[in-house]
Symmetry: C2
Subunit: 140 residues, 2 copies
DNA sequence: ACTGATACTGAGACTAATTCTCATTTAGTG
DNA sequence: CACTAAATGAGAATTAGTCTCAGTATCAGT
């Protein structure tokens, strides 16, 4: 459908184009995000990447966010999650079980259309985030 | 349109029905939330209510959340916001300016319909949260 | 390849948000 | 009024995220 392996390269290129350098630690953060198809928290990344400092993880995420390569999502837990943004614009939203915290991605075309039809004077809209809450089968 | 003054009483009744006691500090948290039409953070509530402990504020919010009387919303800032849930089901979502952090409520019928049409096996859906991101007129 | 300017880094101090603990108080029942 | 368990406030503890700074590494220009 899309080429997930390419997001990493695409991001590396964008980083360079923005006048930033190609550093190993930042590239490792990019590669980890490229691997994941759903949200990861900054501290998870930090824990998973030995030898990469916390500050570097947060800085890399911030830069990727500024370049429109990563999106921040809130899933009810205390920590924010981050996930890559496909250049194609293709994306998903999240369903969260309020009991066990399980998160599942979902996509819905009608929802996207409804959101794209929303206009608000005084605002230039750029992105959106939808989270559905409920109880999963195990917790019902 | 609806009777905002009643949410407070409604909540007090639900609290009692759940076997909890009627305490003054918790009632003050409820009254403050009843007064606000958009999200407030826990620490704002704590700061505003002299004589009510931080722990009590967080506990009250948690109980109200469990009873379906309050909803947690994430608006990009580090702290979560909380707002009352009208018994009528009437609610709004949020538009956030990613530059200055300004938050505005909005409502959209077509969006609500699209969301209500979403079904996901293995999940009993109960609520949803939509956040639109962009740049406000002042920051464009 | 060498060098200089400076972006980038990791460690850990720091701040902010939230949760926990516990001794004391208080609501509601009998 | 007395009793019991829920509820409270103070502040310690934990967790998430930010900041500082001295050392390191990238890259452009030789």
């Amino acid at each position: 459908m899309n080429e997930p392996a390419n997001w990493s390269e695409h991001s590396a290129r964008q980083i360079t184009a923005a006048g930033l350098r190609r550093s190993t630690p930042r590239q490792r953060v990019i590669d980890l995000l490229a691997d994941r198809d759903c949200a990861v928290t900054a501290l998870e990344i930090d824990a998973e990447l030995e030898g990469v400092g916390r500050a570097t993880v947060y800085r890399a995420i911030e830069q990727l966010e500024d370049l429109g390569l990563v999106r921040k999502v809130d899933l009810g837990s205390s920590a924010h999650g981050y996930e890559k943004i496909e250049p194609s614009g293709h994306h998903h939203h999240h369903i969260v079980c309020d009991d066990c915290g399980k998160v599942e991605p979902f996509e819905d075309e009608a929802l996207e259309e409804a959101i794209h039809d929303i206009h608000r004077k005084g605002f230039r809209l750029e992105s959106h985030e939808v989270t559905l809450h409920g109880h999963c089968a195990d917790c019902s």
